[in-house]
Symmetry: C2
Subunit: 519 residues, 2 copies
Amino acid sequence: MKTLRSYIAGAWLEASAGFRTLVDPSTEEEVARASSEGIDFGAALDWARGEGGPALRRLTFAERGELLKAMAGVLREGRDELLELSRINNGTTRRDGNFDVGGGSGTLAYYAGLASGLGDRQVLVDGDGVQLTRDESFWGQHVLVPRHGVAVFINAFNFPAWGFAEKAACALAAGMPMIVKPATATALVAERAVEMVIEAGILPPGALQLVCGSTGDLLDRLGPQDVLAFTGSADTARYFRTHPHLVGVNVRLNVEADSLNAAVLGPDVGDDAATMELFLKDVAREITQKSGQKCTAVRRILVPDEHLTLVREHLAERLARVVTGNPADESVTMGPLATAGQLEDALAGAAELAAEAAPVFGDGGRVDGVGSPAGKGYFFAPTLLEAADARAVEAVHRREVFAPLATLLPYDGTAAEAAEIVALGGGTLVTSVYSDDEAWLGRYLAGAGSATGRIYLGSESAAGAAPGSGVALPQTLHGGPGRAGGGEELGGLAGLELYMQRLALQGSRKTVDAVSGRA
Amino acid sequence: MKTLRSYIAGAWLEASAGFRTLVDPSTEEEVARASSEGIDFGAALDWARGEGGPALRRLTFAERGELLKAMAGVLREGRDELLELSRINNGTTRRDGNFDVGGGSGTLAYYAGLASGLGDRQVLVDGDGVQLTRDESFWGQHVLVPRHGVAVFINAFNFPAWGFAEKAACALAAGMPMIVKPATATALVAERAVEMVIEAGILPPGALQLVCGSTGDLLDRLGPQDVLAFTGSADTARYFRTHPHLVGVNVRLNVEADSLNAAVLGPDVGDDAATMELFLKDVAREITQKSGQKCTAVRRILVPDEHLTLVREHLAERLARVVTGNPADESVTMGPLATAGQLEDALAGAAELAAEAAPVFGDGGRVDGVGSPAGKGYFFAPTLLEAADARAVEAVHRREVFAPLATLLPYDGTAAEAAEIVALGGGTLVTSVYSDDEAWLGRYLAGAGSATGRIYLGSESAAGAAPGSGVALPQTLHGGPGRAGGGEELGGLAGLELYMQRLALQGSRKTVDAVSGRA
């Protein structure tokens, strides 16, 4: 069995005790083990702060862009190997694995281009300058400069490659060194991805370190210039938010957490419309892709009363086509959940939801998987529930069942009621809204825009090109208010802001322009 | 004795018990009493969410601009009355009181203009749209929409008028209703300022409420769409940051807290240079203005070894000219600290600093004030300390003494050492740097830019116009990293972001432009 290693202060470390076992979720066979015991986190931080940070800050944005380009290339070249690791540790089909791995290299490549476009500079100029007195002898200009600390990434189990890459793209472009801590249960892909980057000798010493296992006393050593970027559960987020040391020194924290994403069908969409076809195709995919283990997956489906029967039947039909099983079998279109714990949690969540919403397809239970031994593997039946009254249910709006399960919620077809129901989720990452009625969409935005971080507008005019609401594109923000964590990642240049300090420069225009590099 | 009232759900309420007494800090005479006992905070939130929010969101930015313009006018017209209240409750000279009151109306007027300039819209378009596929059938655009909650302001004692106005300007422009809770000890000015606005009938019902006294169970009733904007001590900030309910529902929190601001003299500045004159004038004012009770006041003064004697002598000379006393006496140029508690805390802090830095002017103690009875009033002697080794002291970089006290810190004249010493403060609101050497300033920015929220560049080319580093102008950001709270207020349009949700719209360009109002 492979022992995962950590990369700390320039050396690959293998622990000798304290292991946690990683398994293939399709077969429950052990595939690796990981432990961070013995890591000197003080040395890791010293290396990042003392060498990695200064080295990255000496580079221009364009030079950092070159690093990102090389990283994207390495992950692209290593794709097949990473997809194989994803299959045996994340239980992903090739397509689902590539959503993670290809998404990661794509995000790095996008930020490579963005950083290159900023050119030969080290200070990011933010907006226009502003005259503060009667003439240019007192002038203001906002700029962004890299934070002089370490960016710690605590990533979720579902995106070991993309989760690393999307955070690394922004932190590196900004000029911050990184310590990556993937979720232990699925660290196989992340470990190899980081190893590929390290082996390629792309980054300056201290820019990238890896922790496989727990974080030890790392958090207690962070300071006011450090950043903690977390993706995971709301419960763990609460732990970080109230961690006495993190609060005491005010470590900058970004959280991307639970999200009861909704898809909303507008009342104008006819049975045979292209927008209806897009809605059905998108929603079925957003329930089952990556076995529903996406923070952007659709959990709630709002359908006008008059369309409910049609939507119910069509979605059930599409879910019936899903072949659940071991992705090693080529007929399989959906793999298992990633861990025994995830299965247990999803089964409990499904039972909680089933108490207030009736199953219309699937039963929210475990199933045997095609190509897997009977009784083995963390397979979850694709499931569609339906609530009679969207406002009378509570768990449906609160409990994120991280599995291929969603709930149909009828509504009266008004934008106001759709907005009200979606907002019951307490803040989401994304809402997809399907309508060709722009006035209706405008009313929806006014009613529930503030309850989400992204609105995906499914319409006839987008039907040919729209990639689905589940993709977190690097050009647009990823994050949402309230329960979703209140964070902001990606979104083009905005993605760098987490890793930089925005400050105002004030002085004569001459001095301000010279110091900001604008002159 | 006047009893302060709260304005809740459309009615002025006077409590009958639970009072705290407000005094004139120059004489210790009682001037008012305040209590929030009996307030139904649930009703306050219902009124704001049910009436104020919808009414404000129905307005365009330009219409909200009109409200702000009227508010600015009301505070401007009421200035003399507010300055008098400031004198008897904040102990301010007319000039210091106007820094608060005039600053407040000026900030409202600035945001009135900004909102008007956004015109007849309700959705704020954020940056350029971006093409996400091969053609415009999939397009992205970031927008900002008002949060559907309540903005709660918990303000500091030192700026009862400006603290209300700067937050109100941004929240109202954004479209959020407000509940204002001034620091009880100096609520006289804030109560009257809010009363003036309410009496003028400017705002729609539910847009503005006032709590004089404690917050009762208000915080426990906030939800994920609400905002808590806090200005005050790092200790209180920690309370809010770890408040179980606030964390649980993820209320958006902005903190502006302690700040060990620094002024740095560059090595190039000659004894007779205009920049030296600016430095000395600015620093002396930034120590004593508002009796040092500004979050932006200079607490640490970095001076190259070779200039230390000159700077010490000149600053001592300027501090010697300060006349401390009751502002009712026209000869007085600096009033008392605002409360007995503030004096006690400042005396304790001064003693802590004096253990590692020697007094070169003043003794960090209480004094009697001109025009006040002996032994009465919270007067603090203007004090200059000096540390032999800027890196050997600890309290100087940690303990914010909220009084007219600052510490001279010699350094070797390099930008690198200045940056290192300033960063020991753990994050500040503002740093003022005096130099005409642009390359040196660039190195300083690279070294310590990330440790502050604003850098004020004092130079010959700015000498005639620069207003001093202590002014938080609405055009530029106010906030700083780490100990300073990590928040962002003001800064032009950026100031609205706290009260809005940024989200990405994705869809065909046609739909996105129509829904965002760009088309």
